[in-house]
Symmetry: C2
Subunit: 221 residues, 2 copies
DNA sequence: TCAAAAGTGTTCCGCTTACACCCATGC
DNA sequence: GCATGGGTGTAAGCGGAACACTTTTGA
């Protein structure tokens, strides 16, 4: 007779607003860790682990169709007090607005990445790995766009990179580099109603990016 | 009542010999896929997933204390015909000699990476991901040394990189770069009994590497 | 007219790349 | 003495980093 192990998924969902990088947490309604904040997630059913992650995200936060990548699988024997539970952790990127619209304002909330409450299970460790993965990945894959609205200014894009990487970037060099690899398209539109010179709005062109990707390309911020 | 899922581990073990990159396979003695070659692995017991991977490696191949990193977790519903099974896949690097010594010569064997037999389950897909991970990781972390004997010549090191990356490298540039980041130590010894000018033997200095690593360093071949 | 951010080029340096010949050994 | 790989330096070009001022808008 075989040792039984439960399988769950957990998602570290990142968003970006004026104040910086945010993460989406759920307040647990049941034991264990009732009342504690936790990463959205739950048990895997008769479905693939990715399907489970997307289903739980939708059920608990209303999010659908977001950028989602597998992060790491956490399998210490004692990470769940109830039973031996292995969790497949994921990280997701989205616009904060997508959640505000979708959530029933109930138990989900955004927290600044450096002001997380005490989390259930080993979710703090999962978050730490996710944060590090995001920092690393953003430098060689243009996944950051998932955090921005469809149209954005170059300054917004730069701020995103500064927040994720945790250091300041040079404005001129940033623009030069980011425009050089041409998957950014000038929409021709400008910001409206800003008390300063309005900035051009750009969008990320996935088609162009895919093309470059095949040509083998590496560079980034 | 909850849907039951089995949890396994599988390891893609890489080795290097004169002919190139090799991978270690096990011939399955039981159904399903009885008689087929497969990655070493098995069910997780009352232990962490990493402990399970190391235990299975030791039981099935005799390998102990090898370099081992988590790769990806495969969780399609139908990847195991018996039942819903999620597998946490790992990749390992070792000297081929370590296995020849340890194995009871029974059911484990090395295969050239480009001449694999038909594998059990979705192990071919796991291998493909592992191969790609190795190619990527070797460029920014000095994990390749795990494949070489303790003392090696620069030509052996270069061949390793050429095999893993799948392209030729310039001898002078390679030596310049690899010696520049100084975690390679000249042991002062030379090859013996070669029908040509004997090469110097170097070793990888983990201490020095850790020091560099903290200083934030990136470059590689 | 003021405040605030947008937008824009050049120089310097270091790394990457390309490239060819002499050397030490075993047989 | 011959075959085999070991070992070495330089020049050119490219990409990354540093750096300051003018422009446009709303109030």
């Amino acid at each position: 007779m075989r040792h039984k192990i439960a399988v769950t998924v957990d998602c570290a969902v990142f968003g970006l607003d004026q104040d910086g990088l945010k993460i989406l947490l759920i307040k647990r309604g049941i034991a264990p860790f009732k009342g504690r904040w936790a990463l959205p997630g739950g048990f895997v059913r008769r479905e693939s682990v990715e399907e489970a992650a997307r289903r739980e995200l939708k059920e608990e936060t209303g999010l659908d169709g977001v950028f989602l990548e597998q992060l790491y699988t956490f399998g210490s024997v004692d990470r769940d007090p109830r039973q031996h539970t292995v969790t497949v952790a994921w990280y997701a990127l989205t616009h904060i607005a997508a959640v505000q619209a979708a959530t029933d304002a109930s138990s989900a909330a955004w927290f600044a990445e450096d002001e997380l409450p005490k989390l259930a299970f080993d979710h703090q460790a999962i978050f730490d790995v996710a944060r590090e993965r995001l920092r690393g990945k953003v430098r060689y894959r243009p996944i950051g766009f998932e955090l921005l609205p469809k149209r954005f200014t170059l300054t917004e894009l730069q701020r995103l990179y500064e927040v994720v990487l945790g250091r300041d970037l040079d404005k001129r060099n940033f623009r030069k580099k980011v425009l050089a690899m041409d998957f950014l398209v000038d929409t021709g539109e400008l910001e409206r109603n800003v008390p300063r010179r309005p900035a051009r709005l750009y969008r990320f062109d996935r088609r162009k990016y895919r093309a470059l990707e095949r040509g083998g390309f590496e560079m980034w911020v």
